[in-house]
């Protein structure tokens, strides 16, 4: 690349076409990162070690455009809007009965293996059935007292999407 070409590349001519191209790129980026792939920064330890405090990720909103949320999928659950979400893992679907005995998850009375749980857990929670239109979500860090961990059933309508990695 000669000197003149390099200069042109770094300082392009502000033609009308160039301005339109810039506006289109900015608009596309805005639409993509606002409505399709939402950047998030993770605050809190409820999903450790899978998603550590301070991590960054993108929430893919089209994940459930053609399919229903699945068990063991990690999802973003919206609150009043989408600027703040809860990052949790779906452990049970509608109609299923959830229970914790001695730190182990039971679905419909049967124990379930959860390879993503890395820390010891001693939770005990009586059986409860997930209502229609809901899913049951829990964080991966169950090494905290059950009363301090935010989890439970929520409407599928609140699910925004899934983290990209």
């Amino acid at each position: 690349m000669d000197k003149e070409s390099l200069k042109k590349f770094i300082f392009p001519r502000m033609s009308n076409l160039y301005m339109i191209r810039m506006a289109l790129v900015a608009l596309s980026a805005y639409l993509f990162f606002s409505y399709i792939c939402i950047p998030i920064s993770i605050r809190g330890i409820s999903m450790e070690p899978t998603y550590p405090d301070g991590g960054v990720n993108l929430i893919w909103r089209l994940a459930h455009a053609f399919s229903a949320p699945e068990r063991f999928q990690v999802v973003g659950v919206r609150l009043a809007g989408e600027k703040v979400m809860l990052l949790k893992r779906i452990v049970a679907l509608e109609g299923e009965t959830v229970e914790f005995r001695g730190g182990r998850l039971f679905l419909d009375g049967k124990p379930v293996d959860e390879p993503y749980i890395k820390y010891p857990c001693d939770w005990t929670l009586g059986p409860r059935t997930v209502e229609k239109g809901n899913v049951y979500v829990v964080g991966d860090n169950r090494n905290m007292p059950i009363r301090n961990h935010v989890f439970g059933q929520t409407s599928k309508k609140r699910i925004v999407g899934v983290p990209l990695w």
């Binding site: 009043a80 809007g81 703040v84 409860r128 935010v150 989890f151 929520t154």
Partner: protein
């Protein structure tokens, strides 16, 4: 090159945007948003907050609430009717438990009813460091009502929404 006509159009656009922004600043929606921002500012505290500043901020919190504010939460002990003085007292007690506190509001959705009342939904995030050195981070969805009295908006009801039901 960008010609004069385009520059003029850009200038008109900037002036129009400035006008819209100015009108928005005077609207009830903006006043309500500022109310939330003020509550956030007064409730938050830094480590080693001077006593005088603490007293001023705590007193200011009560002044943002209506004469009777209804609080509804899943914790029945906290639910009830509160006067601004009671809010001030509870806020002072809560702040005293922490070395640092940060209250933030996001996604404020405002619906004005036209009779001096507004219903809002908002996400509240509270984080900080306790006197024992424990960090905490809690998030809530809330429905907050406000009433307008002499051009100012006051919080009149706060209902905690149960997003996850154990």
């Amino acid at each position: 090159m960008v010609n004069k006509k385009n520059l003029l159009a850009l200038l008109v656009l900037i002036v129009a945007a400035g006008g819209v922004f100015y009108i928005y600043q005077q609207s009830d929606e903006k006043k309500i948003e500022k109310r939330f921002a003020r509550l956030s500012e007064l409730f938050s505290k830094d480590d080693l907050e001077p006593a005088l500043l603490m007293a001023t901020k705590v007193k200011g919190i009560g002044s943002l609430f209506a004469k009777n504010c209804i609080i509804e939460s899943s914790d029945r002990l906290r639910s009830g009717n509160y006067s601004p003085e009671q809010i001030t007292s509870h806020a002072a007690s809560a702040r005293a438990l922490f070395r640092t506190l940060k209250l933030e509001f996001y996604d404020v959705e405002i619906a004005l009813s036209g009779d001096g009342k507004a219903a809002t939904t908002v996400t509240g995030m509270i984080s900080g460091l306790s006197k024992q050195g424990e960090t905490f981070n809690e998030t809530y969805e809330m429905e907050v009502d406000l009433v307008k009295l002499e051009e100012d908006w006051f919080f009149s009801a706060i209902r905690m929404v149960e997003v996850l039901k154990k």
